[in-house]
Symmetry: C2
Subunit: 221 residues, 2 copies
DNA sequence: CCGGCCACCTACCACATGGTAGACAGTGCG
DNA sequence: CGCACTGTCTACCATGTGGTAGGTGGCCGG
């Protein structure tokens, strides 16, 4: 990811400029971050260069200097988000443990990710809605991770620790449930209620309990 | 809902003109249908009057004749969708039966709805993303239904047929899972694969199995 | 036959959008 | 100093947007 500075080349759609020089983030990265937030919350179509630039205190032409087009910016945002997601999930997936404990660890890390950086999950949603090429890139980048997770689940199911299900379907169900819980905050907010942190934690506990009862095959009593 | 024809008044934002005159749908309804499809797939911001009008073979000013503004059109679409959703879920919720059978009936009806009219679920997603007032209207309209479903689940759990969970949370989890399965089609499509109907049916069966194992408390053997 | 109304149209507008061209300050280097 | 280069800016443009003003054909009741 080392990038000597300077504008992003058109070719592969610019993943560059992730470096930080001093205490202050480079402009290209600040743009990336702001774009991620805006794409995730207001959508791709709802995001304008002017609004982005305003939020950053710069002019839109400076954005176009770093990213030659809106599509290139989206591509860069998606690639960055895919890398961040991969990193976050990778580490929790690589941790020791087996059976439910490990599943729970991954789910917890998704919860944490959804709290700390909800825009990442929002971008996934937006990318899927946009379809190719954004969706293809993102899902493609996450593919290997999904494969590993599916393989793990397969082993657990075969060894009798979990109920038999199609692994990738199971993964999607888990993902949907967890993301649904995070989106729930949006629903509540849409209704005007501002959910407090304590109740959210309680709800997560309950979701874990729910998932557990769905997945874990208790040893015959 | 009877509407004598003529443009929608500004006031409450135009829910009118649901009537059908002959074999041909009224223009106002055709607009509503096309707008629903577009809002759900391309989003509110990604939908333009020109594109809508083109798809309908009319001019955009005709749309503005029936719906005085884009926001009014969205409102009308949301209200109509809320009514359709309510109707579809209402009937399955009112059917006889208890315990898992009744839950399964509702889930199946959501599946069916998601197949027949995926745009309805897409609009829910979009409305939540847009926030008030669209989200408030839609969720508000669906509120009573959710209450009834929650009450039913509460009874089932109290009587020992189901595992104890917070009813509304449980509903959201079920909804997320089911919708996630439907959105899965989008994911596959984003990857270029066109899922065949047979495998989708199989997947639904498995989702039902998964939900069942999560919810139903088997009588002690 | 005719006036009025309904539904749709053409013509137009102000504005925001993504994108281009080029000027200008700052910096490092020979 | 002179020069090239980098990053940001001002100025501008073509296009597409939601929305307005007003015209027109068809159909109706009188």
């Amino acid at each position: 990811m080392a990038h000597s500075g300077g504008p992003v080349l058109v070719g592969a759609g610019g993943r560059g400029a992730t470096d930080v020089v001093g205490g202050e983030a480079r402009t290209a990265d600040r743009i990336l971050e702001a774009a991620l937030l805006s794409f995730a919350s207001r959508g791709y179509g709802g995001t304008s260069f002017d609004a982005l630039a305003d939020a950053l205190g710069i002019r839109k032409q400076s954005i176009l200097y770093w990213y030659p087009s809106k599509e290139a910016l989206l591509q860069a945002v998606v690639d960055q988000a895919a890398a961040d997601l991969s990193d976050a999930l990778e580490s929790s997936l690589s941790r020791a443990g087996d059976g439910w404990a490990r599943v729970e660890a991954v789910v917890r890390s998704v919860f944490r990710l959804g709290s700390a950086r909800p825009e990442l999950l929002g971008l996934v949603r937006e990318a899927v809605r946009l379809g190719p090429p954004a969706a293809t890139r993102l899902i493609g980048a996450l593919g290997p991770l999904v494969d590993r997770a599916a393989a793990f689940l397969q082993v657990e199911m075969s060894s009798g620790h979990m109920r038999q299900h199609e692994p990738r379907l199971l993964l999607l169900a888990i993902y949907s449930t967890v993301v649904g819980m995070i989106t729930e905050v949006d629903v509540l907010r849409a209704l005007g209620e501002e959910p407090d942190a304590r109740s959210l934690v309680r709800r997560r506990q309950e979701i874990l309990r729910l998932l557990r009862s769905a997945l874990v095959l208790e040893p015959a009593s």
